[in-house]
């Protein structure tokens, strides 16, 4: 029994970070599933995270009560971002969102009233890992319902072929606007959850690294199903821990090599609905 509780104690924070990364990855997946590659989730997370932190610090309320504020903050920001970015096409939007990430850090550094500036912000608030997991499960349920809803079908159509989607009476712009709003709300939530996990926010907390964590999680896990984002975040969070245990001297290299091999051999990610469909079809043929 000791062994079990020790293992839990040792890896509960890994599980926590995996859950937070999954939420952030779902934010990126939300837009990607409507055909938009955007790194702006980092900015929603930053806004939601810092605002949520301030709410917790000043109103003295717990993270669960600060969550709605963060969701709202992320949503509002994503609305503004969508208004501007949706005019751009294809990879220009990806580049613009990357620029937004870079600007986010500058803003964070220069808005000490909200962010603590270079000193950072200490947030002595805790959230049990179990609650965090419950929140993630709830979010997964929402994504599952979304996937089978009218919106989910429309998003898939827009991703595959915007022209065809438009001819079926779906406005690609409107669908993508909804995708941005979902991404913003989820991103804001992820930001505040990350803040609670770290208990300390610095200007580097929401920056390029986390952008790459999000996108790598989504692609690694498989960008054609929401479960991919969750699976990818789990793997991406666990890889460094495993690498540290197996090859402590070269853990970063091992981490990179593992990422490389997964992508080369499973370029569509770990969770690939197309492969499932094929396997099912093959089974039916054999039967």
């Amino acid at each position: 029994m000791d062994w079990l509780s020790d293992t839990w104690a040792a890896y509960q924070s890994t599980l926590g970070f995996a859950a937070v990364n999954a939420v952030l990855a779902l934010s990126t997946y939300a837009v990607l599933s409507a055909g938009v590659l955007s790194f702006a989730s980092v900015s929603y997370a930053a806004f939601g995270g810092f605002l949520g932190a301030q709410v917790m610090l000043h109103a003295g309320i717990g993270p669960l009560l600060a969550l709605p504020a963060a969701i709202l903050a992320g949503g509002v920001l994503s609305f503004l971002v969508a208004l501007i970015f949706l005019r751009l096409e294809g990879h220009w939007m990806a580049l613009a969102s990357l620029a937004l990430v870079l600007i986010t850090r500058v803003v964070v550094l220069n808005a000490p009233a909200l962010t603590g500036g270079v000193n950072g912000l200490s947030i002595p608030v805790e959230l049990p890992i179990g609650v965090l997991i419950l929140l993630l499960l709830l979010l997964m349920l929402i994504f599952q319902r979304l996937a089978v809803s009218w919106y989910g079908i429309a998003a898939r159509a827009v991703r595959e072929d915007p022209a065809v989607a438009a001819s079926l009476g779906m406005s690609p712009r409107r669908v993508q606007m909804i995708a941005f709003l979902i991404s913003g709300a989820v991103g804001g939530a992820g930001g505040v959850l990350l803040a609670v996990m770290l208990q300390f926010l610095s200007p580097d907390t929401y920056f390029v690294n986390i952008a790459f964590t999000m996108i790598a999680s989504v692609v690694l896990g498989g960008s054609y199903h929401w479960a991919g984002a969750v699976a990818g975040a789990a793997v991406f969070t666990a890889l460094p821990v495993i690498a540290q245990a197996v090859v402590p001297a070269m853990q970063d290299v091992a981490n990179g090599v593992a990422l490389l091999l997964i992508m080369i051999f499973l370029p569509r990610g770990l969770i690939d609905p197309r492969a499932w469909r094929r396997r099912r079809a093959a089974r039916r043929r054999n039967a």
Partner: protein, 295 residues
């Protein structure tokens, strides 16, 4: 007034580094369609290779630079073949390539840290031109002049290559659609290899020159160039070498002047705001024409 002129020169030299890096970064993006996060490590490794050539092999300055440039090119070639070629063969898109490039970024950055013993190294005094020329009382450091000259030569050379030569046409054709190029007999694989090498070599040159003039040869060298080079490519338009060069130099000058006359904390903000503004107002960059999306 002289201070202003000095700072403009400083900005030009700094911007020339951004420009050189951006040219390589843009070539890969335009021709191979890859947003390559590992590109900065080519610059770091080129500088490390040039330093090793100087210290271990005792090569003179021009040969050491050449060694660095070739190392940058070969590294780019290697990364392309390992990280991108398998995905190309499977028809996997730009996203998977972005992730494999991040993987190589992690790997090469980490190895560069080991190679330099986690230190920031520098080229030994006397291993590079360090003379200070003067125009009136204004100091003109030899490395700054050399950097600007290298940028000009590289820009015009590569611009002519891409726009005027048959090989350049093949590069642009492969960048647009590999099969369409092959219908004319072009071997897309060779063009990809040559482009990767050229891109790595150009960014490698930026790395070597930056390593010398900033006295910082370490894994962090490439990262700074990557962000600013990225900005230069977007502002200048990734399919035009001249645009990337002009944007790089302009960013360098803007940075220096902002820091001198406004504030350092706003410096990067202005760079990136400029970047975002350009994307929104003129997404195709300075020289971009009504273009064709990759097919």
């Amino acid at each position: 007034m002289e201070l202003f002129a000095e700072q403009v020169l400083n900005g030009c030299a700094l911007g020339a580094l951004y420009a050189l890096f951006a040219i390589g970064f843009g070539l890969v993006f335009a021709t191979l369609g890859i947003l390559n996060a590992a590109h900065g490590t080519y610059a770091s490794w080129a500088a490390i290779a040039a330093l090793a050539a100087t210290e271990r092999l005792g090569l003179p300055f021009p040969l050491a630079v050449l060694a660095g440039v070739v190392a940058g090119g070969l590294l780019a070639l290697f990364v392309d073949q390992v990280a991108f070629q398998p995905l190309r063969a499977r028809g996997a898109g730009m996203l998977a390539a972005l992730i494999t490039s991040i993987a190589f970024w992690i790997i090469l950055d980490s190895l560069a840290g080991f190679a330099t013993g986690q230190q920031s190294l520098s080229f030994p005094q006397g291993s590079y031109p360090a003379r200070m020329y003067h125009l009136g009382t204004m100091p003109l450091p030899a490395m700054q002049l050399l950097t600007i000259a290298a940028m000009l030569v590289a820009t015009f050379g590569i611009h002519l290559l891409v726009r005027r030569s048959r090989f350049g046409a093949a590069m642009r054709a492969v960048g647009w659609n590999g099969a369409a190029a092959a219908l004319g007999g072009v071997n897309p694989r060779m063009v990809v290899l040559a482009t990767a090498f050229l891109a790595g070599a150009t960014s490698g040159l930026a790395g070597v020159l930056a390593g010398i003039s900033t006295q910082n040869v370490s894994f962090s060298l490439g990262e700074g160039l990557l962000l600013k080079g990225f900005a230069a490519v977007v502002v200048g338009g990734y399919d035009d070498v001249r645009g990337a060069a002009i944007a790089g130099v302009a960013l360098g000058i803007a940075e220096v002047i902002t820091a001198q006359y406004l504030s350092t904390s706003l410096r990067d903000g202005i760079t990136y705001a400029l970047l975002l503004g350009f994307l929104l107002v003129r997404p195709r960059g300075l020289f971009g024409r009504a273009g064709f999306v990759r097919a």
